[in-house]
Amino acid sequence: MLTIIQQVVFVLLAGFSIWFFIKNMKRIRRNIFLGKKEELNDDKPTRWRNVLLLAMGQKKMFKKPLVAVMHFIIYAGFIIINIEILEIILDGITGQHRMFAPFLGGFYTFLINCFEILAALVLIVCVVFLIRRNILKIPRLVTGQLSMGWPKMDGNLILILEIILMGLFLKMNAADTVLQAMDAPHYTQAGPFVVSSLLTGFFESFSMNTLIFFERTFWWLHIIGIFFFMNYLYYSKHLHIILAFPNAFYSRLTSMGQMTNMTAIQNEIKYMMQPELAPTAEAAQTEPQRFGAKDATDLSWKSLLDAYACTECGRCTDACPANQTGKKLSPRKIMMDTRDRIQVIGENIDKNGEFVDDGKTLLNDYITVEELRACTTCNACVEECPVSIEPLSIINELRRYLVMEESNSPTEWNLMFGNIENNMAPWKFSPDDRDAWAND
């Protein structure tokens, strides 16, 4: 089917796309591991179960059943249709056409028909999703960070891209069907195809050569579109189609109410109370470390993975009591800011060989104190997130930095700290009166 030159072009194109994709994925991996170490590898069975339930089964999505079903169609459809890519790539390399058809016979027709039905469904859902974003203007999809700029465009672009890809796939098959009926050379009898056969009307008036030109053009555009899509992910919230899986696997298994322990401080208190346990001065020589997080690299690597996995769906912000009552805090923004920041840090490293201070930090330049102060640590955002992201962990770490490194806390909090320290209670009561309630 393809000339030798076309085959070479194909192989080069595929090679370049895959190389570029891997290069960017490695960047992301490197950026994620700029974060602090955290062991999240225990209890593998539960972790695999989370991958199955949360990532593959999209359990949390089913809180909104209708959207969940539609989203599932796009996701399952897209993955299954991509099995077809395997054949397309092999066809491209070997210069054949529908090379699996002769081996699989009737089953091949069945498979292609499944792909076609899915493609049609994906196409319809993408249209519905575009309507939700642009005509119905579902608040969480059009407000806040999604009201303008790249995030807004990204959401629409990916849907349009998928519509184009599905359209090309179906039209390619339609032209193919007509060619099969004409007994065109190389066009293996593989039909009938249920969906594309509905589209054949348009093609029937053309000559065989024009049709072959059409079919080939669609074939090329389709595969180029796929390669483009693959490389687009790096720049998009659609990275979640890959990262939702590791994110589910590495999600924290402890109860949501449990904050991560700071062992360094735990030990400091222990040695203060029991000096006999303290290591000798030399042994205690450790690198001075920052308490809490000021910049993205002070966060746990899991928080950075979270940031890259975020789909910007806004479910967290929709559930956030602070956001819903008009405070500045938005957990989605926390995630998007973190991703933007670690991305900038990564680019800085790529450019300079190592990180050169750019005078900016995640705290203040991206996330403000006012946002952090509004959080009630209610965990609604964590509960809500369909891809196991914990915006609250980032908020907690930034708050730790503010309070412990900058002593930046509201006056009332300072009073509360003083009371706890002196009266063992957050209010100004004498500890002697702690059981006074029993006396009146």
Partner: protein, 272 residues
């Protein structure tokens, strides 16, 4: 004379609450962790007393730490002050271990969460239960029986899930099971269970002014509760009760709607 004095002291103590205090030579079966709100906050003290009355009525082998109890450190940790948290945790764990405490019940979901989830890795391992769970157990065992024609029979009650009992610790059923025994008309809030909306107090918000916004979180939540038409808003946390109580006052509904802890509701409804 000394006998007389003893009698007088006894008389005085009779008027006060009958509370079992920790006995250094014998650990109680279960320690009642009162918490700072339960100890000092006037509204929350009523919850504490109601719960003690229940514990006394069912004759449980419990005790309180009294003056030796300290803040668990929850508001310190959640506002970012890990030093202070670790300090409080260290001291509390020392005390609890010294008295050889094995099991703890508490009326505060923040204390519950901290002791249950955060103390173990600091050396404090105890069986910790929230009072609503204990109440459910006592009802199941037949130790608590509702009196005929209880105070809440047929009344409309709605239940507010606190974040630290609900989402943080997945306890949704026990409080509801307890309320079901009242023969009341239970209505769910629009946002309930895992979707429950915060009262606005968590994360040490209780101890500071709310950030700028359109509305108080507690007002939003109270309006939702009032919309159910319930005359009693049941809760499980002293902080939620303060926040929702303020919300009810804000709507000028304090005469027709009451905010109550489940322990208070049970104490008013049980046979004694």
């Amino acid at each position: 004379m000394t006998e007389m004095l003893g009698l007088m002291i006894n008389l005085k103590e009779d008027k006060t609450m009958d509370v079992k205090r920790i006995n250094p030579s014998k650990a109680p079966e279960i320690l009642f962790w009162v918490g700072c709100a339960g100890s000092f906050d006037q509204r929350a003290q009523k919850i504490t007393k109601a719960f003690v009355e229940i514990l006394n009525a069912v004759d449980l082998d419990y005790a309180i730490l009294g003056k030796e109890e300290m803040c668990t450190g929850d508001p310190a940790r959640r506002s970012g002050n890990e030093f202070l948290f670790q300090m409080m945790a260290y001291n509390n764990i020392q005390t609890l271990n010294m008295y050889n405490i094995k099991k703890i019940v508490t009326t505060c979901p923040h204390c519950f969460n901290t002791i249950k989830n955060e103390y173990p890795e600091l050396g404090g391992e105890y069986e910790v239960i929230h009072h609503t769970t204990l109440l459910q157990e006592l009802i199941n065992e037949g130790k608590i029986k509702m009196s005929e024609g209880g105070a809440f029979k047929g009344k409309k009650i709605t239940y507010h899930d606190s974040c630290y009992l609900g989402r943080a610790n997945d306890i949704y059923e026990a409080p509801r099971k307890v309320l079901e025994t009242l023969d009341a008309d239970l209505v769910e809030l629009k946002r309930c269970r895992a979707n429950g909306l915060c009262c606005g107090a968590g994360g040490a918000q209780m101890f500071k002014e709310e950030e700028k916004g359109d509305k108080g979180v507690n007002i939003e939540r109270t309006e939702e509760a009032l919309a159910t038409g319930a005359t009693t808003i049941a809760a499980n946390c002293p902080f939620c009760i303060t926040m929702l109580g303020d919300g009810v006052k804000n709507s000028d509904k304090e005469d027709s709607v009451q905010v109550k802890d489940i322990a208070e509701i049970i104490n008013e409804s049980m046979e004694k």
